[in-house]
């Protein structure tokens, strides 16, 4: 089986220039990108397996002396390729604001409380079928300096490698029913046909009684079998 990384798949990505997200104006490349064939340099990529993470790295509620404040949640799903096959043994890193909408980062000066029991960083490696699971706190919404009264919807940042440098993905997961989603230029920058792929779904089946609500979020990375499937 030979895996290819179709350039067409990138049509789901937002453009570099999206003026409603003001910072893009000064940071979008102006000259055209140079299209290059995929060589071994693009078809390989970093491999970080189970040796890279500790068992506790996937539970953001157990990294300090006490539990963080906020609504405990489970975020889980599968990392898949474009043929729907699970991507095993791949690193998934996440970071997020606390339940009040404040990041641990020293540059975050939003006047909401920090939580001494929450750093907001997690990582896991997918299992043999591509499954991953985090336990965390539902992040809060927060204001940002894009324009008057701009607020980011609650979200969790994710970073994934997949099977090649070409499949590298940094993205954000949103929550269902958030009224800020349609107002957020970062989310709305995504072409409409692909936008809702970033909204997780509430998952009653994986919700743990008397403990935590669950949200399901499958992630599809570039990469598919070079041999086209038979149409049926």
């Amino acid at each position: 089986m030979s895996i290819v990384y179709p350039t067409d798949s990138k049509k789901a990505n937002p453009p570099f220039l999206y003026p409603e997200y003001k910072s893009t104006v000064r940071r979008a490349p102006v000259k055209p990108l140079v299209l290059v064939p995929h060589t071994l340099s693009e078809l390989t990529g970093p491999v970080y397996g189970h040796e890279a993470v500790r068992e506790t790295d996937g539970d953001l509620t157990k990294q300090h002396a006490a539990e963080p404040l906020g609504e405990r949640i489970i975020v889980h799903g599968r990392v898949l390729d474009e043929d729907g096959r699970g991507v095993p043994d791949t690193l998934v890193e996440i970071w997020q604001a606390n339940s009040c909408g404040r990041y641990t980062h020293v540059n975050d000066q939003h006047p909401a409380p920090l939580d001494p029991n929450f750093t907001g960083s997690g990582r896991v490696v997918t299992d043999a079928k591509g499954h991953y699971k985090f336990t965390t706190i539902k992040p809060g919404a927060y204001p940002w300096p894009n324009g008057p009264n701009s607020w980011r919807p609650a979200h969790i940042h994710l970073s994934l490698f997949g099977t090649a440098f070409t499949s590298r993905l940094v993205t954000q997961m949103y929550f269902p029913g958030d009224p800020l989603f349609v107002l957020d230029p970062i989310a709305q920058s995504i072409p409409e046909f692909a936008r809702n792929r970033l909204v997780s779904s509430f998952d009653l089946d994986q919700t743990v009684p008397d403990w935590a609500l669950a949200y399901k979020f499958d992630i599809v990375l570039r990469g598919r079998n070079a041999t086209p499937e038979d149409p049926d």
């Binding site: 990384y5 350039t7 798949s9 990138k10 789901a12 990505n13 937002p14 570099f16 997200y21 910072s23 893009t24 000064r26 940071r27 979008a28 490349p29 102006v30 000259k31 990108l33 140079v34 299209l35 290059v36 995929h38 060589t39 071994l40 340099s41 078809l43 390989t44 970093p46 491999v47 970080y48 990294q63 043929d83 729907g84 890193e93 970071w95 990041y103 980062h105 540059n107 975050d108 750093t119 960083s121 990582r123 940042h157 970073s159 440098f165 590298r168 993905l169 940094v170 954000q172 970062i186 989310a187 692909a194 936008r195 792929r197 970033l198 499958d218 992630i219 599809v220 990375l221 499937e229």
Partner: protein, 198 residues
């Protein structure tokens, strides 16, 4: 079954506590850093090199807080990845990650990569592939670093696809014999770096 790929979003300004929490001279966060800017392993063969750089915006002002990631072959041109049949025989992984400083600078310590195969059997000149993540871009940028003292640059199949007057933006130059290789990236402007659509 065909599944639509998950779209990219900006890394935003607050990734450091997770991805680069323990860098020297910066605020340190209570989380262990998995990947850093020193790729050298004791058993890695090849020339030890340092690459120093800076990223500038369209007004030639340095940009801080950028996440730079590099991916490269070992000194013999072998990738530590199952898709490279010539697998490396050392513990050199070939991946580095660092956040730029307040003054926009960054540095990697690594070994100079060997040549790796390119399209149609042509060999590529020694190079490093780079992913650049920052606030204000909605998907990361891909570029490459080549080395000014490599004669094989003239026959590199990827450099040949770059307009001749822009190739220079991809080439790191040495600061005297044995010194660091230096490269400046520019996101906009006359000397805008060549970014690749892969």
């Amino acid at each position: 079954m065909s599944a639509g790929v998950t779209p990219s979003q900006t890394i935003g300004p607050f990734a450091a506590p997770c991805l680069t929490p323990n860098e020297a001279g910066k605020t340190n966060y209570d989380w262990q850093q998995l990947i850093n800017g020193n790729l050298v392993t004791p058993d890695a063969e090849g020339e030890r090199i340092r690459i120093e750089g800076c990223m500038f915006d369209g007004e030639d002002k340095p940009i801080d807080g950028i996440l730079f990631e590099i991916w490269q072959a070992d000194g013999q041109g072998r990738y530590a990845h199952p898709r490279d049949p010539r697998r490396t025989n050392s513990s050199f992984k070939g991946f580095g990650r660092i956040e730029s400083n307040m003054d926009g600078t960054f540095a990697f310590d690594t070994v100079k990569p060997g040549r790796v195969p390119g399209p149609n059997g042509a060999m590529q000149a020694p190079h490093i592939v780079v992913a650049i993540h920052m606030r204000g871009i909605l998907q990361h940028l891909f570029t490459r670093i080549y080395f000014a003292d490599e004669a094989s640059n003239a026959e590199d199949p990827i450099l040949k696809l770059v307009p001749a007057d822009r190739r220079d933006t991809l080439i790191a130059k040495r600061d005297g014999a044995g010194g660091a290789y230096k490269i400046s990236f520019r996101i906009q402007g006359n000397r805008e770096t060549v970014f690749f659509d892969i």
